[in-house]
Amino acid sequence: MRDRLNRLALNIVAALLAALFAGAVTSLILWLRGDSPSFVISQMWHYGTQPSSEVTILNSATVYYLSALAVAIGFRMNLFNIGVDGQYRLAAMLAGAFGGAVALPNGLHQIAIIVVAMLVGASWAGLVAVLKVTRGVSEVISSIMLNFIATGLIAYLMRPTILGHRSGANDITTEPIPKSGQVPGVNLISSAGTKVYGLIFLAIGMGVLFHIVVNHTRFGFDLRATGRSSSAAQTSGVSVKKMIVITLLLSGAMAGLVGMPALLGDSHSYSSITFQTGLGFTGIAIALLGRNNPVGIAFAAVLWAFLDQSAQILDINNIPKEIVQITQGVVVLSVVIAYELVRRAALARQQRRVGRALAAPAPGMEGAPA
């Protein structure tokens, strides 16, 4: 127990150091252009903590959280589902079209749309799984290619003659989802005037579910075991192929949820402008930042969303707001390095302890770690 606490403390320190480092690099870049880092930070903090900003931050964080969870399921098993991006967009598009086309009673309608989205996401990820287990194709490459192909497929399906719907002069969306299929926002921050996505509770629920499934079920145990050593897992009777398929399907289903908060809570129809590419990559970064842990990911998602939102003020002051993307990139890279250093330090400490315990006479064995 003490060991785990120590490890946790070390990881938190590592994350903070990485954040400080990213802040330092960002400050340096700002300073090189002649901007004052302290001015930028105070501006960002001031703008980012206003109630209306807070609502936007919670909304983006909800979406980021789901995306990162989808990636994290794979990561726990050493599977890189880089295809979350394509899975989420295809799912949002088809679920949007489905929601606009059917008439169902309130309650059932939302659930049906969400189920369709999960099924679409899972099937698109299923292609990756099939290619991997039957043909040995690396999931990294195939999921990247499927992201591109999803873009083409969506553009094709969005033709007005197929699933598209001309809503404005040039705007093509899917048929709008009627009231019965929408999820109203909640008034979490009353002074803001805008509402937080109702599906924020779905995201939180998914985080809890993720924790229970990964840490407290037989499946989760197999998942983690396969991630640590697939050959050991195979030997102990786990069917690694089956695990790959199930994990990618789950990851894809979770990716299908990514578009839901905005689709059901705000836009009510799919358009390629609202549902942009790149969210899957953001999910990867946030999952890495949060160490694939549902609580860690939540913090990371809020941090990421805060940086995004608070940077909006910078353009007014004539500072390119893309500076925060540098911050985000550096923080991810330095945090993975920091975590690796912590892992090495912990390993070395454990080895020293084992060495001491073995060198000591027999009664000393109590001190050996489990």
Binding site: I141, M145, L333
Partner: protein, 423 residues
């Protein structure tokens, strides 16, 4: 790219079964190329889609295939030393920005080349520090570098190009380009033959005309990097040492090879090559644009896998992707529709060959795909233009599905290694 789990069939492939099938040498290679050309020519005559072997298409193939090939060559260097480099895309993005930036502010296309080297170097060294020194998961580091590079290019473009004529955060002003080297006499001679649309002869003329009319000094210098890589990696002691780090770093270390330094060199060269690919893109377009790389770094990686981690195969792969890209961007839906027939024939041949070799699974899969593609060809007049844009990606997936099991990546590819870990 390795797949580190026991379930992937890749690992069960035995070396002795792979060798004879994979290595095409000398005359065989020429025969294969000739057969491909005959097939292409045949398809052109049947479908009347003259653009699929035209000069313009070949010129575009070189222009579109070169960045992919350079990224793939970068991947080759890195993975031969045992470091998976999925950050090629990011390094390429840095190459497009720095290439355009240098070329614009110095008014010299050659400085654009230098810019590409600088941009790629930055990306390469970051990847090397993260993966070699700190032993971070290589795919994680690559993804992080791509995120970082995207942000960096956006920020710097905002800083440098805002206020320049036509420039801004998402694009540069137009930049000085290399001029094409033309041989006018040969150009018109081949042009006359090409316009007759004779079977095979016109196709060869179109090909040669494409060669004599679309080359720039940049293209020629870049093309030399491929034989140079082959020579350095397969014919020098340094190359053997570098490749041994990708196969068995502990054994290499035992023999006194500085594994870290070899890996550093490999990853940095890898970045530089990807950066050059980016600079090439910017030079060809005459402008830097956000998102200009369009995933070519990833496709380059796929080309390298397709080429079985060898320079010749990689060029063939990049040529294939460059060609499909050229056909779709020039001829559009009609030409791609013609290519369906070609794909059907090739996949059918591959399938029959596999069946003959008694590889039933691959063979029957290929035959089924061939029949489906053929039916598709017969039933339609054109291919949806939205999907046509992604022809290279679809081909990549198809090729990997059929060929992955016969590929052999470097044995220690993708596995973090620490000094003294074998002791």
């Amino acid at each position: 790219m390795t797949v580190q789990d026991t379930s992937a069939p890749t690992e069960t492939v035995r070396l002795d079964r792979v060798k004879p099938a994979r290595r095409l040498r000398g005359r065989q290679l020429w025969l294969a190329a000739l057969a491909g050309l005959v097939l292409l020519s045949l398809v052109r005559v049947i479908t009347n889609a003259n653009d699929i072997t035209s000069t313009g298409t070949l010129g575009a193939t070189i222009a579109l295939g070169m960045p992919i090939a350079l990224a793939g060559l970068g991947g080759l260097w890195s993975e031969r030393s045992g470091v998976v480099n999925i950050g090629l895309e990011g390094m390429m993005i840095l190459g497009t920005f720095f290439g355009a930036d240098f070329a614009y502010f110095t008014h010299s296309p050659w400085m654009g080349v230098v810019g590409g080297i600088v941009g790629g170097f930055i990306g390469g060294i970051v990847h090397a520090v993260a993966t070699v020194t700190f032993g971070v998961d290589q795919i994680v580091s690559g993804v992080a570098i791509t995120i970082l590079a995207t942000g960096l290019a956006r920020y710097l473009a905002g800083v440098f190009f805002t206020g320049q004529p036509g420039g801004g955060p998402t694009q540069s002003p137009s930049i000085p380009q290399f001029t094409q080297l033309r041989v006018p006499a040969l150009d018109s001679f081949f042009g006359r033959i090409e316009n007759h649309h004779w079977f095979l002869i016109s196709d060869i003329a179109g090909l040669l005309r494409g060669l004599v009319t679309t080359l720039t000094p940049f293209t020629i210098v870049m093309a030399l990097l491929f034989p140079l890589t082959w020579f350095l990696l397969w014919r020098t002691a340094f190359g053997l040492q570098l490749r041994s780090c990708g196969e068995n770093p502990t054994a290499a270390e035992t023999l006194g090879v500085g594994v870290y330094s070899r890996k550093y060199v490999a990853v940095i060269v890898s970045g530089i090559l990807a950066g050059l690919g980016g600079a090439f893109l910017a030079d060809f377009a005459g402008i830097y644009r956000e998102g200009q790389t369009g995933g070519r770094g990833f496709i380059g990686l796929a080309a390298m896998i397709f080429g079985n981690w060898r320079p010749g195969g990689l060029v063939a792969g990049a040529g294939l992707f460059g060609y499909t890209d050229a056909v779709q961007s020039r001829g559009g839906a009609k030409s791609v529709h013609a290519l369906l027939l070609l794909v059907a024939i090739i996949v059918l041949l591959v399938g029959l060959y596999a069946l003959w070799r008694r590889r039933l699974a691959t063979g029957s899969l290929a035959v089924v795909i061939a029949i489906l593609v053929f039916i598709w060809y017969l039933l339609t007049k054109d291919v949806p233009i939205e999907l046509v844009t992604y022809t290279p990606q679809i081909i990549t997936l198809l090729v990997l599905a059929l060929a992955t099991q016969r590929l052999r990546p470097p044995a220690a590819d993708g596995i973090p290694w620490r000094k003294g870990q074998g002791a």
